[in-house]
């Protein structure tokens, strides 16, 4: 399968891959800041390693400091270049720093990085690091739609962000045994018809982030959402609404919006 006809397009923050099967998926690109942090960490690791090796070498060559110096200079140079290239090549595009900051280098067609690409993009650092502090590379990242430094452009690679995404869990508010809105199928159906996907997502997100919100903020947001729903979209009878907290109101509404099939059967 060498002739993959995949195309790619991008916006500021992501790369969109269209596979030969016609599936689109997006990969979020890594910004310069996180890449800088990862690089600083990697630099610290390299310096630590080099100094560790240096101490060892001084100890071994204590009778011949000149040769010791030679070994250290060359080792430092070699480790400096080989560290990123070898790790990225063997670890599927990640160094220790990149792993900690959830970054990964990939081919710009969405495939894993090849070993040659890892070497080319890292040898090109001598150019990207010019004239100091990666100024050339940084400007290149900022001016490139794919956020590539020159090494990435030459090697055809880019850095993506890969924060871990949890597998979808069952949502607690879907599980309620009894939804009092079901007693008013006509109004419930109206709610279901009138709510836009954005509004539905908003309600769902507000509920999902329940525990991340401060108590007063939660009260405030839930009250606003519930009031809006009640006044603009679905007018449930007052005697029902009075008995419900704003949160319970939203949980019920969400239960109507996402998925209860009994509703349509009642209507049908």
């Amino acid at each position: 399968m060498t002739d993959i006809q995949s195309t790619r397009a991008s916006t500021a923050a992501e790369l969109t891959i269209a596979t030969p099967e016609g599936v689109l998926f997006r990969l979020p690109l890594a910004g310069p800041a996180s890449r800088l942090y990862a690089m600083l960490l990697d630099t610290a690791i390299v310096l630590g390693t080099v100094n560790g090796v240096g101490l060892l070498v001084y100890w071994i060559f204590s009778k011949a400091p000149g040769f010791g110096f030679m070994v250290i200079t060359l080792a430092e140079f070699a480790i400096g270049f080989a560290y990123s290239a070898l790790l990225e090549g063997l670890w599927n595009g990640q160094t220790i720093g990149k792993r900690l900051f959830h970054l990964r280098v990939i081919d710009q067609d969405g495939l894993p990085l090849r070993i040659e690409q890892a070497w080319v993009r890292n040898l090109m650092r001598v150019f990207d690091a010019l004239p100091f502090a990666y100024l050339v590379g940084g400007l290149s990242v900022l001016s490139s739609p794919l956020m590539q430094r020159f090494g990435d452009r030459v090697a055809g690679t880019l850095v993506v962000r890969q924060t871990p995404v949890a597998a979808p869990v069952e949502e607690f508010w879907m599980r309620q045994k009894y939804n009092s809105f079901m007693d008013y199928p006509v109004i419930a159906m109206k709610l279901r018809r009138a709510a836009t996907p954005e509004l539905a997502t908003l309600i769902q997100d507000a509920l999902r982030r329940r525990n991340q919100l401060a108590a007063y903020a939660r009260r405030e947001i839930y009250r606003e959402l519930a009031t809006y729903l009640q006044s603009e979209i679905s007018l449930f009878p007052d005697e029902l609404v009075e008995k419900l907290s704003d949160e319970q109101y939203l949980i019920n509404a969400s239960g109507i919006l996402f998925g209860d099939q009994r509703l349509s059967r009642v209507q049908g």
């Binding site: 998926f25 110096f69 990939i106 080319v120 995404v165």
Partner: protein, 343 residues
């Protein structure tokens, strides 16, 4: 309007789990070989999950679910369409030894870029040499370091062995390491400057040529021609060609970038750039050792004639190596005979 998300999730979750565990198993396995059953399973789960992703994409719903599915599809896509090289393939010593024949082969295959690098350097030499010849005052501008401007004093110091330590082997070792490192850095920069469409490479080569020409003429005018030849050539016969090869790599890279749209076999081309860089790095290691341990010894210790003879022998060996070693075939045959490793 709204997809029945909960039911959809409940139905599809098992296959996402399956795909996830299959991918995890594959990614943790060093050889990454799929057997037939696994390949079929992967293909099927990939297709199903991709279809699920398509369904989720068309609503504005479930941002997190979409992210999760995109990640899953991306991983499966990578696993299906690309096989990482196996660890056994990477750690094969014979593969690494191939660099010794691949380097001269690549050098010959792209000799026209080498010729370009040589001409630009010669142009620089002529400029520097003529400038010093007809305008001696230009020495102050062209030669940066003080010792280059006052050959008499320098030659005297060198021949007297001033500024040398007793355990000179130690100092020489340290010196050679610094030389190797500095030279490789400069050469690598010349090769990398190909990104500037070769302009940077050309400027660097030209400047290098000017320096060479100016020093040569300046020392010869003062009658230190033999000293200079014996001083510079034992390492220069490796150092100068390696900078030229760096220029060759730079121009090659520039050409590659300019025609990237038409030529899709970028992978092989990048490998050739890497081979050139690796080869010139090896040459510079030798040059650094020679410069520190051999070039710095002068007349009473080592006669100039001997030093020049050593330099000539080195040059001969290098020429034979670059022109004769490896396959004789030209470009296209070699290129097409490289087996595609991408499965």
């Amino acid at each position: 309007m709204i997809l029945d998300l909960e039911r959809f999730r409940a139905q599809a979750r098992p296959r996402w789990r399956d795909l996830e565990s299959l991918l995890a198993a594959l990614e943790s396995r060093p050889d990454r070989q799929l057997n037939l059953a696994e390949a079929e399973q992967l293909q099927e789960l990939y297709a199903q999950t991709a279809a699920d992703l398509n369904r989720v994409t068309h609503g504005a719903l479930a941002h997190e679910l979409r992210q999760y599915l995109e990640r899953l599809v991306a991983r499966a896509y990578a696993e299906l369409y690309y096989a990482l090289p196996m660890r056994s393939e990477v750690w094969r010593p014979r593969r690494w030894l191939k660099i010794f024949t691949a380097f001269p082969e690549t050098f010959r295959r792209h000799s026209r870029y080498f010729a370009l690098a040589v001409s630009i350097t010669l142009l620089g030499c002529a400029f520097g040499g003529l400038a010093v010849r007809y305008d001696p005052a230009s020495v102050d501008v062209l030669l940066p370091a003080d010792y280059l401007r006052n050959p008499g004093q320098r030659v005297h110091e060198e021949e007297q062995g001033l500024g040398r330590h007793l355990d000179s082997a130690q100092t020489e070792a340290a010196f050679s390491a610094q030389l190797i490192r500095h030279n490789i850095q400069v050469a690598l920069l010349a090769a990398a400057l190909g990104v500037t469409f070769g302009i940077g490479t050309a400027l660097l080569l030209f400047e290098n040529g000017v320096l060479l020409g100016a020093v040569a003429v300046h020392y010869t005018q003062r009658g230190f021609g033999l000293f200079m030849t014996a001083w510079l050539l034992p390492h220069g016969v490796f150092e100068i060609p390696s900078i030229l090869i760096a220029g060759q790599a730079g121009f090659y890279l520039a050409r590659l970038l300019l025609r990237r749209r038409e030529d899709r076999d970028v992978r092989q081309s990048m490998r050739e750039w890497l081979v050139l860089v690796a080869g010139l790095a090896m040459m510079l290691v030798w040059a650094g050792i020679m410069e520190a341990f051999f070039s710095q010894h002068h007349a009473p210790v080592l006669p100039y004639g001997f030093k020049v003879a050593v330099a000539a022998a080195e040059l001969l060996l290098l020429t034979i190596y670059l022109l004769m070693i490896g396959r004789r075939g030209i470009g296209t045959e070699v290129r097409s005979s490289v087996p595609p490793e991408n499965r």
